[in-house]
């Protein structure tokens, strides 16, 4: 069933039913978002995010490499 088909029926709902529908949709969206990250599961992050001294050493190595080629 498409949104175009559903909309006329939604418009015929009472004000209270529309509010309940909004609450239902908000709950559905929240549940979809929650599925993205599962509690209890391990999500590894291996980024050497503060290895700035290493970064400087790599830049130095590249300069030396450039000098050799």
């Amino acid at each position: 069933m498409s949104l175009t088909e559903v909309l006329p029926e939604v418009q015929s709902l009472s004000r209270l039913e529309k509010i309940r529908l909004i609450q239902f949709l908000a709950h559905e969206l929240e549940r979809d978002d929650g599925d993205l990250i599962e509690p209890g599961r391990t999500y590894p992050i291996s980024s050497p995010d503060r290895a700035f001294t290493a970064a400087a050493a790599l830049l130095q190595a590249l300069e030396e490499d450039k000098g050799q080629s």
């Binding site: 599961r41 980024s47 050497p48 995010d49 290895a51 001294t53 970064a55 790599l58 830049l59 590249l62």
Partner: protein, 138 residues
């Protein structure tokens, strides 16, 4: 060789997690004394490129001959790493020289970080569309 932007898809790293595990894994070929086709995690949060130990060995590097020791950080903080510089080819782009912190562990993917992958390539992430775009620096 082309320098026009090329698009690559996000790849699921854990099929059981599906959409939650999509990551920008870039296929590339690394050249040491041997060449290896692999893929690397394009990681803008990583200060440096990282090469796992076994891959470095397969490329022909000898651990004891690499004398420049560097310290990593994050979950790799306790892992020793040494500097290696090698050639890499991404897609149909011209080859580039990439420097890696060659980590003494295989519990890490190839990581393509700020130094110097992001110095060689401009990257645009389109995570909602499940793709990312790469092109050589202008």
């Amino acid at each position: 060789m082309s320098t026009a932007p090329q698009q690559f898809p996000y790849v699921a790293r854990d099929p059981s997690l599906g959409n939650a595990s999509l990551a920008p894994l870039l296929p590339l070929t690394l050249f040491g004394s041997h060449s290896i086709a692999t893929s690397g995690l394009v990681d803008s949060g990583a200060a440096i490129n990282v090469l796992p130990y076994a891959l470095g060995v397969q490329l022909g590097f000898a651990w004891d001959q690499q004398t420049r020791v560097v310290e990593l950080s994050g979950s790799l903080a306790s892992v020793e790493a040494r500097v290696v510089v090698l050639s890499a080819v991404v897609g149909s782009f011209p080859p580039v020289r990439l420097a890696f912190g060659w980590a003494q562990t295989d519990a890490v993917s190839v990581i393509l970080g700020q130094v110097n992958f992001f110095l060689e390539f401009d990257i645009c992430f389109f995570r909602a569309r499940g793709l990312f775009e790469v092109r050589p620096k202008q």
